[in-house]
């Protein structure tokens, strides 16, 4: 059990002398609370697996430090770090039974036999693997194998954190839900720090208390799912989280007004005068833009298609050169392809060079 601090941690696979822009993980300083459930979310190649492997010690960082409870463990090998990791594809030892698989990490550490069998029994019960203890592990399904991989981490009583590297990739959708709730339950029960890498926002948002969004080797925002949804700190977060993602359009912002395509929208906050050389955009989630019949006070849009998601409908529209997604209110039928857009000013955010600008209320 431990708090994990990353201090100016960075990594490049081609060595420390590589140009800073080519680093797989750009310098990051952050703290992972003891007992927290974290998700590292980002597209493939954004550096999330690199960060995970740095924490587990599979990769040694080019720069910076990793502290467990304030103790620098950067130079320590994986074995000495008390970390458990579950990989994308289930890793099980083919020739062993489920019980032997679970006992393996303890046996390697020379734990007395009686203690091993007690721990294995307890963990098997926790993971619902008890009936299979004497079965060959190869015969089991992918989700059971993933549970075994997890179990090999959990049997160790000294484990500081459990890292998950897209552990549900090979699991059937229906079982994914079960396994994910199992993880949540385990997290509550065992008070372990869990770090979960994924590119699936649903997985991240349902699993974690804190979601860390990564983009191009950088941590762009870290916050609760609600924060990420309501107030994305970076246009990437807005667009990556949410389905469909946030609408981001270039605009001219002045004080409490934003102008798009010659039309003016009121803003909730005062943004004063923004730097002239920055790229100014406004971002608004489709959930906070409604389609309405065309009217003179509304931003005019052309409807290209309507996606029916069952409980909610989204219209894909075009305003000038930019594309927009907007909510179609229940019972609204579109007379023709022309429509007006109604914005909820409280949820319109302003971005300068992709970063959120905090206005004054």
């Amino acid at each position: 059990m431990a708090r994990i601090d990353l201090v100016d941690l960075a990594h490049s696979y081609s060595g420390n002398d590589a140009p800073p822009e080519s680093f797989a993980l750009k310098p990051v300083t952050m703290t992972w609370r003891q007992g927290g459930a974290y998700a590292l979310l980002g597209p493939s190649g954004c550096g999330k697996t690199t960060l995970l492997n740095l924490i587990s010690g599979i990769v040694t960082p080019s720069r910076g430090q990793i502290l467990f409870d304030g103790k620098d463990i950067t130079p320590l090998s994986t074995q000495k770090r008390n970390i458990a990791q579950v990989f994308q594809f289930p890793v099980i030892y083919d020739t062993m039974t489920v019980g032997e698989n679970l006992a393996f990490p303890l046996k390697n550490r020379g734990v007395p036999k009686a203690e091993i069998s007690a721990r294995v029994k307890r963990i098997a019960e926790l993971l619902d693997l008890a009936p299979y203890l004497n079965r060959k592990a190869t015969r089991l399904t992918a989700d059971a194998k993933q549970k075994i991989s997890l179990g090999r981490g959990l049997v160790r009583s000294d484990v500081a954190a459990i890292l998950f590297d897209e552990p549900l990739t090979v699991i059937d959708p229906e079982l994914k839900w079960q396994l994910r709730s199992k993880l949540k339950a385990l997290h509550r029960e065992l008070d372990l720090t869990m770090i979960y890498v994924t590119h699936d926002q649903t997985e991240a948002l349902t699993f974690a208390d804190t979601v860390v969004v990564m983009h191009d080797g950088r941590v762009v925002q870290s916050g609760s799912p609600a924060e990420l949804f309501d107030k994305p700190a970076h246009t990437f977060v807005g667009y990556f989280i949410g389905s469909p993602g946030m609408n981001i359009v270039p605009a001219h912002v002045d004080g409490r007004e934003a102008r798009i395509d010659g039309h003016t929208i009121g803003l909730h906050r005062n943004y004063g005068v923004l730097p002239a050389d920055a790229k100014i955009e406004i971002g608004v989630r489709p959930e906070f833009v409604d389609i309405a019949p065309p009217a003179s006070g509304l931003l005019a849009a052309t409807i290209e298609r309507i996606d029916d998601l069952g409980r909610i409908r989204f219209a894909r529209v075009r305003v000038g050169d930019s594309k927009f997604a907007a909510r179609v209110p229940p019972g609204f039928s579109v007379p023709d392809n022309m429509a007006g857009l109604v914005f909820d000013p409280a949820h319109v955010h302003v971005y300068a060079d992709s970063l959120l600008v905090e206005g004054v209320a």
Partner: protein, 300 residues
Amino acid sequence: MDKTVNQKAWFLVLPVFLVVAFSAIIPLMTVVNYSMQDTFGNNQFFWNGVGWFKELLDPSTDLGERFFASLWRNLIFSAIILAIEIPLGIVVALSMPREGWTVAVCLVILALPLLIPFNVVGTIWQIFGRPDIGLLGYTLNSLGINYNYVSNEFDAWATVIVMDVWHWTSLVALLCYAGLKSIPDAYYQAAQIDGASRWAVFRAIQLPKMNRVLLIAVLLRFMDSFMIYTEPFVVTGGGPGNSTTFISIELVKIALGQFDLGKAAALSLVYNLIILIVCWVFYTVMTNAGAERPQKEGAV
């Protein structure tokens, strides 16, 4: 649904049938035919029934004695080279680099012995081991070790075995290396996290994952060594005495040396049968021992 009936399709099988007939069926049946008859030349044949087989399997006759002696020699030879080449091949594969330019260098060096024609291998070792001009033979003798594969049985065996190990360990190593390469990195990382020692990694991950290729390696090496002819024939000619006369060498002596077609045919058939049976036994034992392989994913 009605199936289309088109008997002309049989003609498409004809080329394969012809090739198989001329390459396998006809020669095999000729041998079966010979094994049941006796001849004194002039293309005159006399029916002998299972006479040759009876003689072959009876150790009190000359033919039977020669057969069992060479069979025994052959089994010992195969057992020895398997016992050396399989572990040695695994060790070589384990110590090879996993990435970088050295991989290519290692692979080429390993492949070299496999590319040399059998009788060239024999000739190399025949000269290499000669006490008068061979590097190996001369060095050993000048070190005070009395080594002469022409006159000493033990030296002859040692030479033939070392030659086979030199020639074929590469094959085992390459197969094992391929097996090792197919293990995803995650396995090693997981083992590292589980605190596994080098030996535990080998026992729990590498050996089980090499299971399949090892089966192939054992089968190939057994068959090849059981059928070995060229190299020992070139090096020792089956001697000294009959000490390195393996079944194939005996067979050639009977068929071409004495021109006893009937005896040779009977011997070939039994020889063939032994190889088939031993391979089948190996295969069954090893697939079952590799046990509960993921034939199908069991439900949980």
